[in-house]
């Protein structure tokens, strides 16, 4: 089947998509956008988190056909003009990245949180990021990064 969608503001087309395929497979293997990671394939880890029509979703659980006509934003769509998004910058500054596999999903989940709640409490940060697993950092640095990003973005 043919799947047409908008990814990071660009119209994209994937041909010969198998009916059982996920949005994640389309993004990574057909459109070459490897920022969204493929890890658990069961919605547990959040590494494949993307925006679809404005909502945070696990791309591995969206069937490709459901993404037809949708507006998708991936981690590749956050930086502008070669400059890191303040959230990405905050993850770098706080050392919230070790192996980096969970980072794209966490960045997108953080983006979603801060766009709805620019000044989240620690509990709100934890709840918003509850669907994203990191096996390296122990989360403290990640939460530091979210706090820093919130601060930086409020200054902007």
């Amino acid at each position: 089947m043919l799947v047409e969608l908008t990814v990071n503001g660009r119209r994209r087309t994937a041909e010969n998509v198998w009916a059982g395929e996920s949005l994640l497979y389309v993004l990574r293997e057909r459109l070459g956008l490897r920022g969204s990671k493929n890890a658990c394939e069961q919605g547990e880890c959040g590494s494949c988190s993307v925006y679809m029509d404005g909502g945070l979703v696990c791309a591995c659980l969206v069937s490709a056909g459901q993404a037809h006509g949708a507006e998708v934003v991936t981690v590749e769509g956050l930086a502008e003009g070669g400059r890191l998004h303040p959230i990405q910058q905050a993850y770098v500054v706080e050392g919230a990245v070790q192996c980096g596999f969970c980072t794209p999903g966490l960045i997108i989940a953080t983006h979603q949180l801060l766009s709805e709640n620019p000044d989240p409490s620690d509990d709100e940060i934890r709840e918003a990021l509850a669907g994203n697993l990191c096996r390296c950092t122990g989360y403290e640095k990640i939460i530091d990064a979210v706090r820093l990003a919130a601060l930086e973005m409020s200054v902007i």
Partner: protein, 297 residues
């Protein structure tokens, strides 16, 4: 595998009738896992996620008709007054990503004994509206779950909505798991007190082959609240009534030992949860007591 994209609800019903082997997909949070892991290869997917007819809810005659495609996120945001226990349960589902996609219709279709929506639906006395080309019917929730991951739907039927009496009193939900997120319930419990009809409703999850109603515990509590004048005076029932209710609720379950928990732990936890939810429910009754007896809950 084929991919079917009906444009309307009636098209979807026609496609399911034409070939009952097609598998409906909405949020995909259960089905896509099975497809990703090559555990399931249905001949065709029937994509219901675009059907506006399933995405709404409406309050009519004291009940909420909840479209099968309404997500948990929307239930939390829009229905915490009318359906408080379902909203609490929805907040314990998965993660934000899962709640943005998962639906009560999908939960019912999967019919896992651990499904988070099921205990609140049992406690509230909901019914499932199923439809095929042969017509529509309402299946009482108590008759809906027929076995582990089995339900009373006929092969040609789709779930259109769930009709749930709106709260006329406190409703509570409790769930035990290893984390606050991304947890399949070890055991769960929902309680509903209908202050107008003077009825008690319960629902037990993850402690039997299907979600269960603790029928005898309900009858016992109704009787005690009547005899004690608690419905009338909105006074808290005596502690021993709560304890007996909790014991009876726990003994209604038939849990097994599995990877998520031991049967004995589940029974123990159920007793605690039944007692606690009754306490929370009665806290609400007492808090609102001064606002007048017949006030809209």
């Amino acid at each position: 595998m084929e991919y079917l994209r009906p444009r309307t609800w009636s098209d979807a019903v026609a496609l399911k009738t034409e070939d009952p082997s097609v598998v409906p997909i909405n949020g995909g949070t259960d089905l896509m896992v099975e497809i990703n892991f090559a555990r399931r290869r249905p001949p065709a997917l029937l994509d219901l996620s675009r059907l506006d007819e399933m995405k709404g809810w409406e309050k009519r005659n004291g009940s909420v008709e909840l479209g099968a495609g309404v997500t948990y996120t929307r239930i939390i945001e829009e229905l915490s007054t009318e359906l408080p226990a379902l909203a609490i349960a929805s907040r314990t589902v998965g993660s934000p990503q899962i709640r943005n996609r998962g639906t009560v219709g999908g939960n019912l279709a999967t019919a896992s004994p651990a499904g988070d929506a099921h205990p609140p639906l049992l406690a509230a006395g909901a019914s499932v509206r199923a439809e095929s080309m042969r017509g529509a019917r309402d299946i009482p929730i108590g008759e809906f779950f027929t076995g582990p991951k089995q339900n009373a739907l006929e092969p040609d039927e789709l779930i259109r909505s769930v009709v749930i009496p709106a709260a006329r009193g406190p409703r509570q939900f409790s769930k035990v798991g290893t984390r606050n997120a991304m947890v399949i319930a070890v055991v769960s419990f929902a309680l509903s007190l209908d202050l107008e009809e003077r009825r008690v409703g319960t629902g037990i999850g993850s402690a039997g082959p299907t979600p269960i109603e603790a029928v005898e515990a309900q009858a016992y509590l109704e009787q005690e609240l009547e005899a004690g004048g608690n419905w009338d005076h909105r006074r808290r029932p005596a502690p021993e009534v709560g304890e007996r209710f909790a014991e009876m609720a726990a003994s209604a379950a038939s849990p097994i030992d599995d990877v998520r928990g031991a049967a004995s732990y589940r029974t123990h936890a159920l007793r605690i949860m039944a007692g606690r939810t009754l306490g929370w429910a009665w806290d609400e009754v007492v808090e609102r007591g001064g606002e007048g007896r017949r006030q809209c809950w």
